[in-house]
Symmetry: C2
Subunit: 478 residues, 2 copies
């Protein structure tokens, strides 16, 4: 926990109207508003890089209407607003670069409706994915998206999150039917609906998904749900080389074999997981964790198909995790990969790359990135949602070693540029935040960035919504 | 073919700069530009209601850069631009309400690249879905979206089209990875990429999809492709009542059974199809046409599951169309349903409703709409992509019978309102155009419409792009 003086030092400036807004919020929200240093600090950064920019105050609204009141107040006073879910974003989305009000949605945690017959639900933005799954399990339903962290669904929509199951079930872009959004002007609007498809006007749902709180605050979501599969089977398979593992994944995807998850862990990551999660029976070698969903016959067919492919690439015999307990142990190790990898070098800091490329380029992209990390002398274990062409390197560096930090930054920039050069993206699922802003023009071109800037200026003319994120500040003409 | 005098009468007005733009286009594009009345008329309406608003001229660009030249010219002169694909839109999207330039993309018909390993391709906007399928068949790939008409892919993206296969493969929203768009200012931009997912900034791809040419012109598309299924099997099953047929579909969807198409035709539509397409072996009764895609084992399993459901709802024995020829005959009849239905009342005019509702409300929505048509004394056969909750009524009316036209309009309005009331949308796949504008505020609320208007004003400040479409003209404040 840092001291107040550090908090103040790390905020660049504070809007003139902030004091007035804080006074008004205190009068309106009572003890649901605070300026306590410890709370502000806990709201001033996410995970990943730990640079702190604390907000001036934190407020906990209980409804969309209350969010509307807060935004109208801030908009009139030109005070920045930073939406907050569970604080697990990775790209600096939560940094209050110029102070402002952190709007914490964690008390908006109602599951509003579950429509089992339509396999959809409506939730408030503060509901976490685990809380939702708990609420719908008895109806035989589940919400598949799993980014690792027990993130809020509003935060997952805001960053266009996905995770291990996206290869089969899609990302937040695909599973969200509609939203309630509060505009910077304080107005509560609804987008989308409950129909599975619609051609009625601009796709505002998709516009707000991935906008990282820069256009408004998502306060409710209508989400697709899925029937819990009749059969779930999981397996792991290990390979002699990283290339063989990735090429096996490429072949599985190119053959159109249905898998629910297909996750890569490289040898360094496996070493970390074996130590951290007490995994037994695994070598420190590149490994795929795979899960199959479907009817018993469909799952049996998928397993045979995948086994045929992995055999062809020299994979070890499948180790099956049929029992729920074995499966859970395997996936828990996968989920704890971040902590396991950090355990490789206690005291070091870290960040995570997020390249996503067309599947045909995946082996090349991973091989080059892996070789570059080695040549830079960096420890950077690889995990990946490789069925989507998405992989992460957890780049470890000593914050006191300026040269190592520079090499880490060089690797991160290089991985983003490589992914873009291969027709992919600098971020498959973590978002732009502040850390990837410099890649935006390279990835999209100045023309597309100009269109994003025009949309931002039109919908948030005072620029109060999560300023300094997502869209570069250098203005390009339309 | 109508005379020039009618053309002039039906355009409301013409921008002052039009003559200058036409002269400039003639100088630049030569015989790739025309003001011939017959051509203008052919570009002044789509299918569906035949009200004609002819453009002032038609131009055929050959590249994105040429589209950019045309738009820059029109933007400077404040002359409207109406993008044109194959002319098969249904909601008046092509009407040149105030004259202007029709930009016909049919000569931009190159398949630019096919990436078999990634199952994607890049095409110019004028490529039709049939031409694309012809080009990729030898690679073992297909593009599943099938709206009936052999529409251009640019037009399909612009209207967020879908069709019979959407229940399995999604709509243009899901299968489009990226776009090239020419902005109203004449700038060529690229959106999205080739990665399967991305969290990099605002989702401009989805913003342009469904925007009906009101924000810019789509000139290229990066599209997902799919492997031709190992096994394709089709079947039809008939029911004693419309309700039983729809409830069977609801049960299939709620059980999560995988079908590639599941299409409803009501008794009137079947009567029309039997006559028009010389279908033998069918009763004039509510019918489902179903198609299954997958491995032999998966298809066999799907068929057994669906047969179990349809048996439970009193469906006739499955009539299988195993042979490609039988399958093609069945789907050709489905595709010709529009012409078949119009054949029920030669000389009558028609339009098509497009309600899409949550699947749990589908039986109720269809039953009420069917009963209303009967009580209004209208012939309005029903076809539907019922797996998505989407159905169409082809409403027939005598254009010379003002009362019948009024009743037809009343039915259309009522079907839209009913779908919205049930949590659905007035348009599942045909778009807003001019015909559904009045439903926009009812469906989205004034707040969301205000956001759409702000986006439109920001990206097309001169209002040249397909004016009078998609977004209501009554301005709502943000």
């Amino acid at each position: 926990m840092q001291s107040d003086s550090i908090l103040v030092r790390e905020s660049r400036s504070e809007a003139a109207g902030t004091a007035g807004v804080i006074a008004a919020l205190a009068a309106r929200f009572g003890d649901r508003m605070t300026t306590a240093a410890a709370v502000r600090e806990a709201h001033g950064r996410g995970e990943g890089l730990r640079d702190l920019f604390a907000p001036s105050a934190v407020v906990w609204p209980g409804s969309s209407a209350e969010v509307g009141e807060i935004l109208a107040l801030c908009n009139a006073a030109l005070v920045p607003v930073i939406p907050f879910g569970t604080g697990t974003s990775l790209e600096g989305q939560l940094q209050a670069l110029n102070g402002g009000i952190s709007v914490d949605l964690s008390r908006m945690d109602r599951v509003i409706e579950v429509n089992a017959g339509d396999m959809d639900c409506r939730v408030e933005a503060g509901v976490t994915r685990e809380a939702l799954n708990h609420a719908i399990r008895d109806a035989g339903l589940f919400f598949p998206l799993d980014p690792g962290a027990n993130a809020s669904l509003g935060g997952m929509a805001s960053t266009r999150a996905s995770g291990t199951n996206a290869v089969r079930y899609g990302t937040m872009r695909e599973v969200t039917l509609g939203l309630t959004v509060v505009t910077p002007q304080g107005r509560v609007i609804r987008t989308g609906g409950r129909a599975r498809k619609s051609a009625a006007g601009y796709d505002l749902t998709r516009l707000y998904i991935g906008s990282e709180g820069t256009l408004g605050i998502i306060t409710e979501l209508q989400l697709r749900l899925f029937g819990i599969p009749e059969t779930i089977s999981a397996a792991s398979v290990q390979f002699a080389s990283l290339g063989a593992a990735v090429e096996a994944v490429m072949a599985v995807m190119q053959m159109g074999i249905s898998v629910a998850r297909i996750e890569l862990l490289d040898a360094v990551q496996m070493r970390a997981c074996i130590a951290w999660s007490k995994l037994s029976g695994y070598a420190e070698a590149p490994t795929l964790f795979i899960e199959f969903h479907g009817s018993p016959a469909a799952v049996a067919e998928q397993i045979e198909q995948v086994r045929g492919v992995t055999d062809a690439f020299g994979g070890s015999a499948f180790a099956f995790a049929h029992a729920t307990e074995d499966r859970n142990r395997m996936w828990r190790a996968r989920h704890d990969a971040y902590h396991a990898a950090r355990g490789l070098a206690p005291g070091k800091d870290s960040f995570t790359t997020d390249a996503c490329v067309p599947i045909s380029r995946l082996a090349e992209c991973i091989a080059e990135s892996h070789a570059e990390a080695e040549s830079l002398g960096l420890t950077a274990p690889i995990v990946g949602h490789v069925g989507d062409g998405n992989f992460h390197m957890l780049v470890l560096f000593d914050p006191a070693d300026a040269d190592e930090r520079r090499r880490a930054d060089r690797l991160a920039t290089s991985v983003s540029e490589r992914a873009i050069r291969m027709g992919g993206t600098c971020t498959g699922e973590h978002g732009i935040g502040v850390h990837k802003l410099e890649a935006m023009v390279l990835e999209h071109g100045a023309g597309a960035v100009a269109v994003m800037q025009a949309v931002k200026a039109a919908l948030d003319p005072n620029g109060i919504m999560n300023p300094g994120k997502t869209v570069p500040s250098t203005v390009f003409p339309l």
